[in-house]
């Protein structure tokens, strides 16, 4: 399902788009379509040519590499941009994006995005802020991925879903055991085992993908070394 949109009246603008004047917003609306993706849908694929900046209005998306040793690089909840780095200068997507929950995504022509950067200082400024934050986040992730053991990494991931994505301690995991493994760099078997152990210790309660976090403090302790 795709629909044209009116960016002037949009209430989930990015910090950058908030800096655009009404004329620019109209131009944006003409160079932008909103597309709905169902949970599980592929949004864009590693290796393909990219001509749009994608703005995740609402929903949850994973950015990941393909292949047998597929790796989940980032899971992000809207609103926010997906993969500016990939689209901006180079034109090939360096990773894939898949919807983990139903999503509404705006596809913005790279050209108009670039023209805003060149026309509007404040817009550019906000994009820079966004990129800086996202790079710092990546550094964090890079560090935590390698200095925690599986218990720590999995605990961290569960807290991430609970606190950052679903904002509740009782939710359905958006990933299979195998995908969880790809997210925290381990195998599906190890994920199963650790989940089972956390369950038996009454730190969590897990049944299939249904997760209830009983002792968030215990997870917190496991996850920070």
């Amino acid at each position: 399902m795709t629909s044209n949109i009116n960016c002037n009246t949009c209430i989930i603008k990015s910090s950058a788009a908030k800096e655009l004047n009404s004329e620019q917003l109209s131009a944006l609306g003409k160079n932008c379509v909103q597309i709905f993706f169902k949970k599980g849908d592929v949004i864009f694929k590693e290796g393909t040519f990219s001509v749009n900046i994608t703005y995740l209005r609402e929903g949850v998306v994973k950015l990941h590499t393909e292949g047998k040793s597929s790796q989940i690089l980032k899971i992000t909840k809207g609103p926010g941009y997906l993969g500016i780095p990939t689209t901006f200068e180079e034109k090939i997507n360096h990773y894939s994006a898949t919807a983990l929950e139903d999503c509404n995504i705006c596809f913005i022509h790279t050209n108009i995005f670039k023209s805003f950067i060149e026309e509007n200082k404040k817009f550019a400024y906000e994009i820079i802020v966004e990129l800086c934050n996202s790079e710092l986040e990546l550094f964090q992730k890079c560090v935590s991925r390698t200095k925690n053991n599986i218990y720590g990494r999995l605990s961290h991931a569960l807290l991430f879903f609970s606190e950052k994505i679903y904002k509740t301690d009782n939710f359905n995991l958006p990933l299979s055991r195998e995908e969880l493994g790809n997210f925290i760099n381990t195998t599906r078997e190890s994920v199963s085992r650790v989940l089972a152990e956390l369950d038996s210790k009454k730190i969590i309660q897990i049944k299939g993908r249904q997760l209830k976090i009983l002792k968030p403090e215990a997870l917190k302790e496991l996850s920070d070394v």
Copy 2:
């Protein structure tokens, strides 16, 4: 050793600074000092308050976390910016920087840097390009750090030094065994062992820090899975 500089005549400007007009370059010169760092000197330290954007004119720098499980996040050769993400919005350095070779570094007031972004679209544009590239690089690193084994990661690191930093296959390693371990996420013992084995297989020749790469193809093969 610190000296004022004339940015108008500087010949190792960043792509961004190339977009500045002569008036802006004069302003830059007044808000900027160049400082020389000897090999081993600390440039800035994790946790400290940062008020400058740092531009590495020449030399080699490592960005790293502190503490017993210190981790080297990135090794970079000038010219190029160091740690814009840290300095830009937030004001606390998220990691430390140390010179691996003698360096000349410009310390630029964050304020003038920001004002250029707001005054000069092309400057902002180039900074965005820079940030995008650096984020993509980080993604790469994140992936390769976790899907290669120690042989692969070390081979990759050796090729990195040879190809990207020193541009020769015969050079002195800028890192101790322990630091190499921090760079590729392993222990000093494992680094020793793998270096010894690569040496015994005549893929490299290592004596102390003196490294000669005999079979770069063999390293290449080991490093890409």
